[in-house]
């Protein structure tokens, strides 16, 4: 294999077919950006699921002084602040429930600490006192889908003010992310078809314009690999450049959309870092190069008989 000769042939081929090469590069870049975006959306979703999923609990709040004052909202608290015996009774009951994996307790004092740790910059922080919080039990379920069964068992017990399913808050957000991801995959599907057709056509034109060369190569006994390699390498090279552009675009997207906009506006959600972005890049390169090489190879089987 004469690398230098092959490289110079590839370079000549790319330049001769410059407009088509540019079209392939742009098309590959767009398709792969969509692939990257879809993959990052999915890692964002799993990141959020992971972050809250560990902590998705049924939260059971017990009556405090506030609840007693606003009996209209929490009728179960008419009899007064929940006693330790009432809390222990619910705790014991949960411990015996097979759906419950673990029960954490949170006192109002701990709640204040947690609040200050989570929102250190909040202007309210200096003014928060244990009086604002309830005694609560945080329950981790063996299967979060079965929230309703645990909630109905606990709701209405003496001293229980209210029961929350924390995952309900996040559901619309997950739905939105999943829809976005779906849309990205669909557009990506159409773009891939366009890209593949473009590659097929480019290779076909290239094979046709170099009929004389390949004819001579066949006659002097160049192997199939040698005859086809420059075409495949050209397609792979164009796809490689496209993949680099796509990597640049998703990096820019992460920087502008996530870091500079979303992160500042939505502080409650944990966004993906650079790790997933960087790990998607080599994947895009591999996908792009493999797909276009394969498309080129299959095209040549039809248009470049050896």
């Amino acid at each position: 294999m004469r690398a230098q000769f092959v490289m110079s042939e590839i370079w000549i081929g790319l330049r001769r077919n410059l407009t088509m090469t540019i079209a392939v590069i742009v098309s590959v870049a767009l398709s792969l950006s969509l692939v990257g975006a879809a993959m990052l959306l999915s890692s964002q979703v799993s990141q959020m699921k992971g972050y809250w999923g560990d902590k998705v609990e049924v939260s059971i709040y017990f009556c405090n002084k506030d609840n007693q004052k606003n009996v209209k909202d929490t009728p179960n608290c008419a009899s007064g602040v929940a006693t330790q015996a009432q809390i222990d009774a619910v705790h014991t009951q949960l411990d015996h429930n097979p759906l419950v994996q673990k029960v954490y307790t949170e006192t109002p004092e701990q709640a204040v600490q947690n609040f200050k740790a989570q929102f250190p910059d909040s202007p309210l922080a200096p003014y928060v006192t244990p009086d604002y919080f309830n005694n609560s039990l945080r329950v981790k379920l063996t299967n979060p889908q079965l929230y309703q069964e645990v909630a109905s068992q606990v709701l209405g017990q003496p001293g229980v003010a209210k029961v929350d399913d924390q995952s309900a808050v996040l559901k619309p957000l997950f739905n939105l992310m999943n829809t976005l991801q779906m849309v990205a995959w669909i557009i990506m599907g159409f773009m891939s078809v366009v890209t593949l057709l473009l590659i097929v056509n480019t290779v076909r034109v290239a094979a046709f314009s170099r009929k004389r060369e390949t004819g001579i190569m066949r006659l002097v006994g160049a192997s199939n690999f040698y005859v086809q390699m420059p075409f495949i390498a050209e397609a792979a090279f164009a796809a490689g450049v496209g993949a680099l552009l796509a990597s640049g675009m998703i990096a820019l997207g992460k920087l502008v959309l996530v870091d500079m906009m979303l992160k500042k506006q939505i502080t409650l959600i944990s966004f993906i870092g650079w790790g997933p972005v960087v790990s998607v890049m080599p994947l895009l390169l591999v996908i792009g190069v493999l797909m276009s090489s394969l498309a080129a190879f299959l095209t040549l089987q039809k248009y470049l008989k050896v």
Binding site: M1, R2, F5, R212, E213, G215, I216, M217, R218, L219, V220, G221, A222, S223, N224, Y226, V227, V306
Partner: protein, 229 residues
């Protein structure tokens, strides 16, 4: 070197075979003219030897190998032992004379050092010493055909196939090309040349094979073009 055993070639959607039950043998070192009018089957004959086509019936042996039993990936290696020259030269217009000849070696993966050594040698052999850096467009037809012959011969093939090599040349240049082919033949390379050029065939007095509508109608040693049978 070449053996045809009862070879018939019928192209798809054609009633009359392009080659009809042809049997013949060409020995190593021979110089053979293949004559016949257009459509007589000369091109099919050559294409069968190059294994660009396969016979419908019969066997074609080249360099001792039955081409029907040669797997596709071995075909390039078989072709490396054949040289081919055409009426229209088939040079690459954007490469120099030297690069055109070197191309044949580069695409079969020969090392640079070998190429640098043998290309000037073969150019000298065909009478183009010093014209290595010229472009094909700057050369006369005869010189262009010499480049094509250099390219076909640079890998020292056992068999040189020439399809109307003088078809585009004036008589004077044709004689030059024939002298060159004769010289190549004297190095031991078998030469098979399809031609319409009566003067050349008559003058050279080599073996003549004549095809007519796919049939082998004459196989004569030291023959002439217009032999009446």
């Amino acid at each position: 070197m070449i053996r045809f055993d009862n070879v018939t070639k019928t192209y798809p959607k054609q009633n009359r075979p392009a080659l009809d039950n042809v049997s013949l043998e060409i020995e190593k070192g021979e110089f053979v003219f293949l004559v016949g009018s257009s459509g007589s089957g000369k091109s099919t004959f050559l294409r069968l030897i190059l294994r660009e086509e396969r016979p419908s019936v019969g066997e074609v042996h080249v360099l001792g190998k039955d081409l029907a039993k040669l797997s596709n990936w071995k075909v390039p290696h078989m072709r490396r032992q054949l040289g081919t020259v055409f009426q229209d030269f088939r040079l690459l217009p954007n490469k120099t004379v030297g690069q055109n000849v070197a191309f044949a070696l580069e695409v079969i993966g020969k090392p640079r050092a070998t190429i640098n050594k043998v290309v000037p040698e073969v150019l000298e052999l065909v009478g183009l010493a010093g014209k290595q850096d010229r472009m094909p467009g700057e050369l006369s037809g005869g010189e262009q055909q010499r480049v094509a012959i250099a390219r076909a011969f640079v890998n020292r093939p056992m068999l040189l196939i020439a399809d109307e090599p003088t078809g585009n040349l004036d008589p004077q240049n044709s004689v030059g090309i024939m002298k060159l082919l004769d010289r190549i033949n004297r190095t031991g390379t078998t030469v098979l040349m399809a031609t319409h050029d009566q003067a050349i065939v008559d003058q050279m007095r080599k073996r003549v094979i004549e095809l007519d509508q796919g049939h082998l109608v004459r196989d004569q040693s030291r023959g002439v073009y217009g032999y009446q049978h």
